[in-house]
Amino acid sequence: MASMDIRVGDTARAVSPAALQRSGSQTILAVLTGLAALASFAIIFLMLFFLIAYAYPAIRFNGIEFFTSGIWNIGNQYGSGTMTRNGFSAQPGASFGALVFIFGTLLTGALTMVVAVPLSLMVALSLVYTVPKRLRPIANALVELMAGVPSVVYGLWGMVVLVPWIGEKLAPWVTAHLGFVPFLGGSAGSGNGLAASVFILSLMVIPIMVATTRDVMLAQSNSLFEASMALGSTSWQAMTRAVLPSVRSGVVASVLLAFGRALGETMAVLMVCGAAINSYPENIFSPVNTIAAVIVSQLESALTDASGMAQRSLAELACALFVITLIINVVARGIMRGADRREGRAA
């Protein structure tokens, strides 16, 4: 906030509002910002349009099977002839069912939120209210540093440290001792899989959520917390009953941002997910795959498909990811607006 104030001051000193109006640059500014705002819509719309146009043959070829089947097979490139459906052809034996990847995307994203949301809220609350003032700058800097680490670095660490540890230590112990709990028993696997993906994704989204929710809490004046404490509540009660409800929409927004990041994260997940094909996870250590990861890992194979249907089906996957993200956004916004209306506040 502080840096922003300074910048506003600088501008005011350099060009006074009166001078702006005189030169007519305000009109230019209005036009430019208007165009920029329009461009952001146009870019999203055009991207979706061209993606759908490119994927159209796949959409026709795959039909509803795309969403109901879990069998992904680009077909036999060394086979003879082609197979044709609805006027579009692919390699013989091709089947593009995306259910495994859609399921894997939503599952890793949702489990990441289950792990990351409570942790992030606790970290943010402690950064604002309980960590000693002198340590806060260091703690804040660490959180921001974590948010700035490129995803491939998390992926590499996951691959060489986390995955072997899960495969050799954690998974065998958990399946042996806690195997009676649903989704914790069964095969211990190799360490690559759901647990590793969720762990890595959590590491990546927690700093984002902490940074955004912390800022929302800081923007909220301290009086709410202090008033609540003055009324005799414990600091835990003050945080959960007074502070959290007041910053709810900010928290939901940051959770959404993080969920979007988790759904679309590609490289780090690709490096630890075990690249499951045609199989659903049996327990939390099973290999999984996500839409984003499979687009990368299958792209080069798809490029060898002379019929081009594999590439177009990957584009259809990209459309699906686009739409899933959009739906989640719209639904969450609806929930927020509904909740705000019930409390008699403007959204």
Binding site: Q77, Y78, P164, S190, A275, S286, P287, E300
Partner: protein, 350 residues
């Protein structure tokens, strides 16, 4: 902020100047693809560049799928592939498939206590493991092939390639040619639709296969022979495989040579042929030509000339086929007849 921007800009300019300077010094060729060929290319290029300073050759191990597609798109001049191109691909983008050497693939496993023994495995048993019908190491079908070895009652973790791969191609050919149910099911290709096996893992490249197999106890993997030193260092075991005559053979120079001579004479002029599951009592069942996928119509005449020169060197007896290169990666040299066919193909590059 402004200072950082200026610095970044200056760095960009400097990088641009450096890049263009290098390009002017001579032609640059890009080789990309098979991670199995990658160790050999590194040996070749390092040696070749000592005498050919005017050409800059860059090598990348990215997988055969990438090699083929980037050779077609023109990003790379040489696409290295363990698999020859399919008819359907050849029809839409005709390319030269030029054998550079003969390679093989071993079946590796990580079974504590048994990695110093060569288990006997067959195509149908591997097909059973990779399709989830054989789940445990002490399964009756594995035990039948390995009398006198105490197999552990542990779940098998099958590891396969997640990227498009020539290793997947020759491995799935071995399963297809030896097991009818696999042939009619997943079939073969650089990418296949793996049957649903709960704990099967996908790994990237041969290095990824070695790492995953080393880190995962009771796993099994198919890995190119140029990584034999790495798999030995990682302490993995490798299997004796059942060949067409019903004998169990280990991958070594004599068994690979036996298989290559059994099918080498049948190699057609365009050199696209599978050497997998060759007849002969001594033949190792998973061997293949390592291909350079090259566009016969290069955009740049200078590049075409340098490309021809390098490829001719690569297949020459006193060039790339010398034992000091090939032995290091456990490849075998091309037979004389195949060298001739490859020469004819290289001549077509324009």
């Amino acid at each position: 902020m402004r200072k950082t921007l200026a610095l970044a800009f200056a760095a960009l300019l400097a990088a641009g100047a450096l890049g263009s300077g290098k390009a002017m010094a001579g032609t640059s060729l890009l080789e990309t693809g098979s991670t199995l060929v990658y160790p050999l290319m590194n040996l070749w290029v390092a040696d070749y560049q000592k005498d050919h300073k005017d050409v800059q050759i860059t090598t990348q191990g990215t997988g055969s799928g990438t090699g083929i597609s980037q050779a077609i798109s023109g990003v790379a001049q040489i696409g290295a592939s363990d698999a020859y191109m399919a008819d359907s691909q050849m029809k839409s983008s005709p390319m030269l498939n030029i054998p550079l050497a003969i390679s093989a693939q071993q079946i590796n496993y990580n079974i504590p206590g048994l990695n110093n023994k060569h288990l006997h495995l067959s195509g149908p048993v591997l097909a059973g493991i990779y399709s989830g019908q054989i789940k445990y190491w002490d399964d009756k079908q594995i035990a039948e092939l390995n009398h006198g070895i105490k197999l552990p009652h542990h779940e098998i973790v099958p590891i396969h390639r997640a990227d498009g791969s020539g290793d997947t191609f020759i491995f799935s050919q071995y399963l297809s040619f030896s097991t009818p149910s696999w042939k009619n099911g997943p079939g073969y290709g650089t990418t296949i639709s793996w049957p649903s096996v709960g704990n099967a893992v996908g790994a990237n490249g041969n290095p990824g296969m070695v790492q995953t197999c080393r880190n995962t106890r009771y796993s099994i993997a198919y890995i190119g022979v140029s990584f034999l030193d790495e798999t030995n260092k990682a302490g993995l075991g490798y299997a004796a495989l059942k060949n067409r005559s019903g004998r169990f053979v280990l991958p070594n120079a004599s068994t690979i040579h036996a298989a290559a001579s059994a099918l080498g004479s049948k190699t057609p002029r365009d050199e696209r042929i599978s050497l997998v599951f060759a007849p002969g009592a001594e033949s190792y069942p998973i061997i293949n030509y390592e291909y350079a996928i090259v566009n016969p119509h290069q955009q740049d005449a200078g590049k075409a000339a340098d490309l021809k020169k390098f490829l001719m060197w690569a297949i020459a007896k006193d060039g790339g086929q010398q034992a000091r290169f090939l032995n290091a990666v456990h490849f075998l040299p091309l037979p004389e007849k195949i060298v001739q066919l490859s020469k004819e193909q290289i001549e077509k590059i324009k």
